[in-house]
Symmetry: D2
Subunit: 335 residues, 4 copies
């Protein structure tokens, strides 16, 4: 299913080469000022056209279908679409029969019986993250003054701006990377002890981003190598600030008021123009082939703004839920 | 909230030193044979009493409250409890005021206004995973003949059975570890393209296990260091088998028929008997103290069976959902 | 929130005088043939222009934004919109201050702080049922060969086609009515013993239709006047057929294989052109006023197709859930 | 499924003749004082032993398994059970083969393959409403000072306390009735415009009560016979008070601040000791038989407190959701 959230609810739709990509957001409060300009920066960050990004550049003009009148939200579902242009669908015809390594071609055929839209990856396309970014812009407004920032820690295992990316582009190969996200200004109390732990909810939405292979919070996998006396992190002030924030802002599934810190591993772009092998599902024969068309050498470069969006959406929904009364006497108001 | 699943639904309850730990499972099919003996092995694996485990050993006798008659499930909600015994509550009185580093003491106080049960960590206790293991035993039966196995890859960053654990026990310190889980026999098609990707759903439930700091699938964080030509994984037979399974059995959020492979990082036990610092929330003064009582030097040793349970529950729920008709003509049956 | 369903999931959006009314349907199986022509009849039945219906007639041209390629569904979310035309918004400006009796003007102002779209009732408009009808057409296809039919039992308490409606139109007054819905061909086993009883799920979605004041199943309110020996309904054949079907096809919350029979009470249209009283929320003064503009004298005449849609959507979702294994050995399939 | 609610979440379990009936409530705020005494009155109202009620009288002693320490809730899931006693199971053996008219015997056999617990109706038993009443007591506390009251309007179509009930008891027959529920003190703004309309949510949970055949709000089915000028209900004061409250406290799916008024039709008890006909599912032969054992001549007499519980649970959950920010600037709070 393609919906996320309990009270701030995001429903995605769209295929890469279909008419439109879109999102319906249920639970946007009424009275929120919202202008197309506020989306521009994040949409630009997500779009291609930079070094290591796909040459497919689109003017992603937002069309608001409902939920906003004269730049103010109405409280009813907010629907926004972006129409697709600049698509070259002939590139994709053969993948149904010869599934590309690392792509969803095979599983999509298995799950949807060959009816899924193969063009541009269809609904599996990274282009659908456009809808996530749109919802993310609204979620960020709801979270303000909390601040969400991301940083590319490494590309291909090295400093992000070194020579390796040039090599990948020249050789028709690709790279992945590690992105860090930090959120400051979130109060203690978000998340639940068990199934809706803060890490559970964040990782749920983050693994919706295509190509994520791992996630860690705070000290993450390094924590597994530490002594307890080394990883334990004493509280040093009454607001809950700890000395090292090795738990990444979460204890027992609940935000502790420190900065939320998480890192994700992004795999290398699956589409490469170097020769690869696959199997022809009709003939059963192995085949060598090259993926042509326009592709990111490193789509991890475009992930930061999508990651921010995912994190913001999850936190906004948790904040809504936290306004329900966790403590008797707080929150329930009758006439 | 403490419920997980859409059609195979697990609701947990209980505090470490309260009367009982329990679970209600909604969606267990009718007619499933179920005997207390089938739970014994997994409960034993979860319980303490081994090297590196807490000396608190309990006979975890299951009491079935509903949903099973003469060893056969009825199709109505299955409720199972285990009564708590062998608790020493006086150990925990002071933690409300002086929160233990790494524990949920502080966040619980913030979220629940000081009313949460501090004894033994209350509902945050690892003891609540007992309920998860109970549900896991049933989920495993539903998944058979699929096989779920786990392996401790490292403790404290090293080979699991080396000297380091002895040192931790002797010095009153603690260690974490890395656990791998593999599931074979899951057909292609589980999981959804976006928000309910297989990784999303699995990580959601896995991060409910206390003390998990990170998760990765297949090549995981290593994938972020590879070239695309290196990480890409050609399909080599018509059933979808790939040459390296670097994606850990998942493409585009959907199982691809290969073994599902994931690894989690478990932090070192927070409770250590070495001196630590914290803050007294009443006086605002820093305090040095030691956690007394019985604790695991390395609770990661007990995580494998809990991880298996979490994975099984999530997969069972996804299997149920996958029996809904993804392809027209399959699944919808009217009279 | 504006979403319904667990596995066949319908998300509505749109305001009466906004750019578009639309629906996103998640869970449509792949491979379902779907042409605009199949929607025509139900859309025509819902639209105005007949005696007792509003003169606002729209060509409701469907625009498919996603989920269908060359007339075949892809399995990804199906998004459909209808653009609004033929709106006269000036009619509605004053209602924010002087809420119309029977309308949502007052509650909308209270809930959304005066920011909701007042034009044409905004998101509260009966026009949003257009989206429900679109989803209903698809749901009906999934339910085939089950048959859903509706019948207007009475208008204004009398035979539907008598003189009373003429009077209402002439005098600028309005009428309500009673509609019956019958579904044949649904197998026994849909619905759950408690909270998701068949009646629960059906009434949940049916009360989403604006203007419904009551619902009853089978003998309904008459059952409360009967002796048990009179209401009890013996099974007369092995397929569960009962002699009178007084329970309307449901026992214990679960379909029993007989025809599902329910009736709804539809209130008279709130907008009438006769003089009415209300209160001016700014001045606190009582005010007399007339609702001008175009309105149905009896919108109950347009409810049947909306009711069919609501019932079909709920049944389709329950059928999906019923394909999960209620009996051990049925439904769970692994490799 | 047997769970209800989004933020105040109730999970039921138990069979009539199994070990226990119970409920897990997730989302109870921490710090709520809760003593067994507070449950006594409502449990007594639900239990049998009065004229027209079953002679099976049980001491329904509550056992709190989790979520409360020294009479104060902890904020973690509250689990409560009542152990079953005083059961005579031999009464029920034959019903699997010869399903009783009006009972769930047949559908349960169809849905659960003959594995459901037939004794006392198993999970379909009215006894499971005990769990609903327990949850209702807590919900009422959360709603205070709002007041929920119920009234039996008619039994067998007549004044509740007339001769007809005596006749039913004497002749081994049964009766149904009509119950009204009123809630005062609920502010305007509960419920959502479409699928989660106040009527939708209330009817969803109310139809979970066994034996409900219909529900209506305000003027209900009578509204369908009125002129619009007659049913329309002008607001007469600034707080939204209307002159007649014919809409039963709801407009457009949202509470309007007036008293919420609804009525339900309860069918006659299915179990009667007069001779009835059914079919033997093994032989295919018609059979005449009498239901022996202890039964209510009119279980509608016990419905009021169950109805109050259902209404309270739904309203408490909606109140929680309404504490989420419907208007920008209200509700979202970050550090």
């Amino acid at each position: 299913m393609n919906a996320f959230g309990k009270l701030f609810r995001v429903q995605l739709f769209g295929e890469s080469h279909g008419p439109s990509i879109g999102v319906v957001i249920d639970g946007v409060p009424a009275g929120l000022p919202l202008t197309p300009e506020e989306f521009r920066e994040d949409l630009l960050r997500r779009s291609g056209g930079k070094k290591g990004g796909t040459p497919r550049v689109e003017e992603d003009s937002l069309i608001f279908l409902s939920g906003v009148v004269q730049g103010i939200t109405t409280g009813s579902p907010l629907a926004v679409i972006v129409n697709n242009k600049n698509t070259i669908s002939s590139d994709y015809e053969s993948f149904k029969n010869t599934p590309r390594p690392g792509h969803a071609d095979f599983v999509s055929r298995q799950k949807f019986g060959g009816f899924s839209d193969a063009r541009g990856g269809g609904h599996h396309s990274g282009r659908v993250t456009l809808a996530l970014v749109i919802a993310g812009v609204i979620a960020k407004k709801l979270l303000a003054p909390a601040q969400i920032t991301t940083k590319i820690l490494e590309i291909g295992g090295e400093n992000p701006w070194d020579q390796k990316l040039e090599t990948a582009i020249l050789e028709g190969d690709s790279l992945g990377g590690v992105i860090e996200c930090r959120v400051s200004g979130i109060k203690a109390g978000l998340g639940e002890p068990f199934f809706d732990s803060l890490e559970s909810v964040l990782s749920h939405i983050i693994f919706a981003i295509p190509g994520i292979r791992g996630i860690e919070f705070g000290d993450g996998f390094s924590a597994a190598k530490m002594w307890g006396s080394e990883h334990n992190d004493p509280i040093v002030s009454l607001d809950g600030t700890t000395s090292k924030n090795g738990s990444g802002g979460v204890n027992g599934g609940i935000s502790n008021g420190n900065e939320i810190v998480l890192r994700v591993a992004v795999k290398p772009t699956s589409s490469i123009s170097r020769a690869q092998r696959s199997i022809n599902l009709s003939s059963g024969e192995a085949e060598e082939f090259k993926v042509t068309g326009r592709h990111d050498a490193c789509f991890a470069l475009r992930v930061p703004v999508v990651l921010e969006a995912a994190v913001s959406i999850a936190l906004a929904d948790l904040l809504y839920q936290t306004s329900a009364p966790h403590i008797w006497g707080h929150g329930i108001v009758v006439k």
